[in-house]
Symmetry: D2
C-alpha cells in the first residue's frame, strides 16, 4: 500500500500536516510539499484546437505521485473557507492530467485511488469547512475516486491542533483502519 500526502500549507510542520501525520503514524508513506513544487496555474485549453500543451514545471511530479499511489491524503489549511491557493492550483491541473496522452492509464487508476482529506481551520471549521468537503466530494465523484474519509480540525495558532482531541481521535481511528487494510481491501 503506497500512501502519498500532498501538503498544501505554506508552512512546513503546519497544523494540517501534523494532523495528517497522526493519520499515517507508523505507516510507510511519502510526502509532497506543494510549496516546494513549481506549479503554474492551469491554462484552460480543453476547447483549443491542439488541446493542452506540455508545461515546463513540476506538474509531472504530481501526476506521477498520483499514478503510483494506492491512497492519497490531501492535507490543507483552510484559507478563506477553502483549500489554499497553492493546493488549488495543483488540483486545477487535474483537468490537464486526465487528458494527458503521456498518462493514458491515469483515469482508470484514479478509480482505485482511495482519498482522505485532512483540513484544519480556525473559524468554526467543523461548520464553515463543510462547503470545502462538498467540493472535494464533487471532484472525487467526477473522477470516480473513492472518498474514504475526511477530518476537520480546529487550530488557530501553530501547533494548536494537538489540543483538538476530537480531531486527534478521528485521526487515530483512521490510522487503525489504514493499518488494518480497511480502505484498500477489495470492496
Amino acid at each position: 500500500m503506497k500512501i502519498t500526502i500532498f501538503v498544501g500549507s505554506s508552512r512546513k510542520g503546519g497544523n494540517s500536516e501534523k494532523l495528517a501525520d497522526f493519520v499515517v503514524h507508523d505507516i510507510e508513506h511519502e510526502k509532497m510539499y506543494v510549496k516546494d513544487l513549481h506549479i503554474r496555474p492551469i491554462e484552460d485549453l480543453r476547447h483549443a484546437e491542439n488541446g493542452f500543451q506540455t508545461i515546463d514545471d513540476d506538474y509531472d511530479q504530481f501526476v506521477e505521485a498520483l499514478a503510483k499511489s494506492d491512497v492519497v491524503i490531501f492535507a490543507t489549511p483552510i484559507y478563506w473557507y477553502s483549500m489554499s491557493g497553492l493546493m488549488k492550483n495543483l488540483i486545477d491541473r487535474l483537468s490537464q492530467a486526465i487528458r494527458d496522452k503521456r498518462y493514458p492509464n491515469l483515469k482508470e487508476h484514479l478509480k482505485t485511488l482511495r482519498t482522505i482529506v485532512v483540513v484544519v481551520g480556525g473559524d468554526e471549521p467543523r461548520i464553515k469547512g463543510l462547503p470545502l468537503i462538498q467540493q472535494f466530494q464533487y471532484t472525487l465523484e467526477f473522477l470516480n475516486m473513492p472518498f474514504s474519509s475526511y477530518i476537520i480540525g480546529v487550530a488557530n495558532q501553530p501547533g494548536d491542533i494537538l489540543k483538538d482531541s476530537s480531531a486527534l481521535s478521528q485521526a487515530a481511528w483512521l490510522n487503525q483502519k489504514l493499518k488494518s487494510g480497511f480502505f484498500t481491501e477489495e470492496r
Copy 2:
C-alpha cells in the same frame, strides 16, 4: 460609483467575464485580469514574530483596486467546483492585506464595498456551485463586506454563456439595479 471587475479566468473573453460584462453593460468600470498579475501564493505569517513581509509582486495593484472601488465583481470560472487557483491565490492574500500597515484604512473601507460574485461552470453549477457561493459568503461576512448579489451561469464551450437565458436575465436585472444606484445608496 467606481466598479472593478476581477477576472479569474485563464482565458480573456471567457464565459464568466462575458457574463460580468452584461452586469456592467453601459456602466463605467475597470477590469483587472488576475492572469496578467504576478501574484505569489500567500505565506502564512500571521503568527510569525515580524508578521507579513512585503512581497515583490503585483499584490499592491490588487489592494489599491479594492481601496478605490465602491463595487467589486469577482468573476471566475468554476474549476473543480471552486474558484480558479489564480483567483484563490489572490483571495488568500487578503489575509495579508487586512494586516498591511501601508493600508491602514482598508478594513474600514471593505465594510462599504459592495460585492457581486459571477461564476460560470459546466457541471450543474446551479447546484454544485453552491458551496463556492457559501465560501464567498463566509469570507465577506468575516470582512463585514456587503454581499450584494451573485449569479451562477452554465456554459461548457467558449461563448456558451450567451445561451443561458436565465443567467442573462439575472445579469440584466443586476445591470438595472446598478444603474439605479440600488446597491450603493445608503441602507
Copy 3:
C-alpha cells in the same frame, strides 16, 4: 402538460404561494394545499416484515397528484432554514410511495416528472436557503427526477415577495420557459 403546485405554507396566499403563482401565470395548473390534507408522519417500516401498511389519511391524494402530473412545483416558506414541517411530512411519505404496490408505475413516472422548487424566507435566504436546495437536489437525484429549476425569494412580511424584483424576474423567466414547452419537450 399537467402542472401541480404543492403549497407547504400554513397560510393561504403566503409569499411562497404567490411567487409560484407568477411561475404559472396564464398557464393551467392545479394546487394542492398541504395544510388541508391530513398527512401522518411516516412510520419507517422499510425493514419490517410486512413492509409499509396502508395508512388511513390523505396520502393517496398526494401520490395520485404526482402520478398524473408532468411538472410539479414544491412551494414552501423557509422555516428554520428548511421546508415547513407540513411539507416535510409529505416528502417523507415518498419512502412509502415508491414501495407502494398500488402504484407500480410511480417510480418510472417520477423519472419524467420535471420539478421546480420555489422557496421564500426572511433571513438571507439566497445564502441560508442553499442547504435546502441541496437537499431537494439529493432527493430528486435519488428518485431520478429532473430538477428543472429553483427560485429563492426574500420576504419578511405577508405580501413582501412583490418587492423582490429579482425573484419576480426569475419567475417571469420560468413562466416563459414553461409556456414555450422548454421543460417538457424531449431532451
Copy 4:
C-alpha cells in the same frame, strides 16, 4: 447538568437513538420521544394581529424540557437528507416558543443551552447530511445557542449503527467530554 434527548425517529430504539445513547452512556439524562407527543404543525401567526394562539397539544412539554435543560441532544434519522418530519414540526414551533409570553425567560435560557446533534442516515450521510448540519447551525446561531458538537452516523438496517466504528468513537469522545464537564463549564 440536566440533559434531554429529543428522539425524532418513528421507531423506538432506532439507530439515531442508539447513537445518542452512547453519547450519554452512564450519564443521567431524560428522553423525549417526539413520536409520542401530539405536536401540530406551526401556524405562522408572527404577523397576525393577535400573534400566536395557545394550541391544545403537547408543545408545552417540549418548551418545558428546553427550559429545564443544560444540554439538549437532537437525535434524528436522516429522512430525505433532512431531519424527520416529526422532528421538523417540533422545531418549527420554536418560532412560537420564543414569542410565548408564558415563557418570558426562554430566549435568555436558550443562549446557555448546549446543543448536540446526532443524525444517522443510509445514503452517504457524511456528505449528504452536511446541509442538515448547516441548517442546525443557522438555527442555533439565530437563537444564540451554542452548537457544541455533532455526529453523523451511517446505518441502513436497524442496529447497523453498531458497525459504524467512526461514529461510535466520536460518541465515546463526546461522552468523555460530557462527563468531564467540558461543554458546561464557563467559557
